[in-house]
């Protein structure tokens, strides 16, 4: 991993088109501003990880269509 030191209001530029700027530093928190083209998805990593884990769990399903049917019928009546 490349590690750089930046102060408040300083930026880094990725690939000439993405700017990441330190907006504020306070109490162990950093506020970051990102300017990027519209085709770049920006997601907090923990959120991405959560979705990933959920997907990995989702493919492990074991179910019988009959059971599901019964359950939906019960709940709709």
């Amino acid at each position: 991993m490349l590690i750089l030191t930046r102060k408040k209001d300083e930026s880094i530029i990725l690939d000439g088109k993405i700017e990441i700027k330190v907006i504020e530093i306070e109490d162990g928190k950093v506020k970051i501003g990102i300017e990027a083209p519209r085709d770049i998805d920006i997601v907090r990593k923990e959120l991405y990880k959560k979705i990933e884990e959920e997907n990995i769990t989702a493919v492990e399903y074991k179910y019988k269509p009959e059971d599901i049917k019964k359950l939906f019928k019960q709940n709709n009546n």
């Binding site: 959120l47 979705i51 599901i68």
Partner: protein, 149 residues
């Protein structure tokens, strides 16, 4: 063409039904082609999102608007651009379902909807920044009475 599926054996699929997930799906980055296997039984709202290349890989999906009546989301501009969405009617939205051992505790992921442009056959799992939704919403109210047999 023939597609081997996890739950329905080998099925015949027209190539026009293949949906391209250019970025894969988080956790399955290499899976770029899927088909939707619709379930026509009205008592069972589950459909399947089946990988074309990997027979063992299939997600159970639902139409979230059928189950969560007040679900409303804004599709981020990034996704609209990437999926080349021009009109609202181009869009299909599904939620991935997790079915645990106790199936009454099944949940839908409302934070990461599968957004599909069926005209262009492009799909993507969109990660919303919306604090009203999480990856686990119970599909059934969790106030079960003990069943009297």
């Amino acid at each position: 063409m023939k597609v081997k599926t996890r739950d329905f054996g080998e099925i015949e699929v027209s190539e026009e039904n293949i949906i391209f997930f250019k970025e894969g799906i988080p956790g399955f980055d290499e899976e770029k082609e899927f088909i939707i296997i619709l379930n026509e039984d009205e008592d069972n709202p589950f459909h399947h999102l089946q990988s074309v290349k990997n027979p063992n890989l299939s997600f159970i999906i639902i139409n979230p608007f059928e189950v969560f009546k007040d679900y409303d989301i804004i599709i981020p501009q990034t996704a609209i651009d990437k999926l080349k969405i021009e009109k609202p009617e181009d869009v299909l939205i599904y939620s991935i379902v997790v079915v645990p051992e106790d199936i009454r505790k099944m949940t839908a992921n409302l934070l990461g909807p599968i957004v599909i442009n069926h005209k262009k056959r492009l799909g993507k799992q969109v990660i919303l920044e919306d604090s009203r939704y999480s990856t686990k919403h119970f599909i059934f109210a969790q106030d079960f009475q003990e069943e009297v047999k």
